[in-house]
Symmetry: C2
DNA sequence: GTCTATATTTTGATAGAC
DNA sequence: GTCTATCAAAATATAGAC
């Protein structure tokens, strides 16, 4: 009974610490983050943070690992096998939903990349490469089948990634550009429509549409 | 004569410090940057850095101000008055050239936004809003004139900004996505072609093209 | 303008009582 | 598991000789 109780406390506190750490790391980066700030944000005393994690490095690595895992789970349902129009639309919508609901994780990732991606493990980078390569293959198959026009698949994927991630990472700029109000679901819907419509209109061959 | 010599030394050292500071701030953020590191990167002793700038805040503000000014000068020639196809192509090309040749400045800006854009002055934010509003008006005029299809001008501008800036800020990811090599001019050319072609194909009305 | 020495504060991390 | 007290190292910033 006590063991179970202990486990529950541990799980809860580790979660609190990682939530707080993700937020502070995302804003201030690894070197700019003070353990004290993570402790305060998590509602736990600093020494308690050190009880669960041996060092700042450990916390950071754990936060990054959790982020990658979360992205994977959120996006794994988006297979690109189907009809191009539907696949692109679903991908853009799913990524924008992530930007809307989990901007902090997105910003932590951005900060890690700005740092030079030194903390990303070779395994994590290989995973990113694999996912990209798989999607490139699918897109090139679509091109070969005449379902979409000739296009550089890798740059196309980068464009989709960039356009969707921007709404999380650069929110202050997006707010200014949209007219200084807080971002709501409607804004993300409008973004999804703009990105998907524009890109699809450019990708779908002009003679195959009106079937 | 001595006055002039002094001025020259000052100008050169201030420049060195701001160059070094831009690089370190871009990588580690404001809180993560140590004055010692700026001093080392600039080749000047730490106390000398304090001779030119009163505090870390001062250096940071100066670096941000210089960056905004540089962007303005680089992009001011890109007026959107002309033909939409040419205007979009030139804008994308110009922004990608900036991402290629001055990625550090771009990353410093990204870091400042991740921080919450607290150091951007109201004047600088207003400037961003003004530039955006002006371009929105131009795009909406094009739509009204039937030169491009109906589209949300603000989200379209965000998409262009995002797609071009990504190549500077997320270079490690871009490298992985393109196949693990260093980015060269050819990659930026391919990116420009992909972005401009795809978006233009989606924007130009289908019946007005083959004139 | 340049640079050594140093005051002062804050940080990551630990020891040890409860 | 929780938390107070504290250390050693590192940080920002300054004083003052050259």
């Amino acid at each position: 009974m006590e063991k179970l109780q202990e486990e529950r406390i541990r799980t809860r506190n580790v979660r609190r610490i990682l939530d707080a750490a993700t937020e502070v790391f995302a804003r201030k980066g690894f070197d700019g983050t003070r353990i004290t700030e993570i402790a305060e944000a998590s509602g736990l005393p600093k020494a308690n943070v050190y009880y669960y994690f041996g060092s700042k490095d450990d916390i950071y690595r754990a936060a990054i690992a959790r982020l990658i895992q979360g992205w994977d789970e959120a996006l794994e349902e988006i297979a690109l096998e189907k009809d191009p129009a539907e696949a692109f639309t679903r991908y853009v919508t799913a990524k924008l939903r992530l930007s809307h609901q989990h901007p902090t994780e997105s910003r932590l990732f951005a900060n890690e990349i700005l740092r030079g991606a030194e903390f990303l493990t070779e395994q994590e980078r290989k995973h990113i490469r694999d996912v990209t390569n798989y999607r490139v293959a699918v897109i090139e198959a679509w091109i070969a089948a005449g379902k979409i026009v000739q296009v550089d698949a890798r740059h196309l994927l980068i464009m989709l990634w960039a356009a969707t991630q921007f709404y999380a990472d650069f929110q202050p700029v997006v707010r200014d550009a949209l007219g200084n109000r807080n971002l709501e679901s409607a804004d993300f819907d409008a973004a999804a429509r703009c990105i998907a419509d524009t890109i699809l209109a450019g990708l779908i061959p002009r003679d195959s549409e009106p079937t």
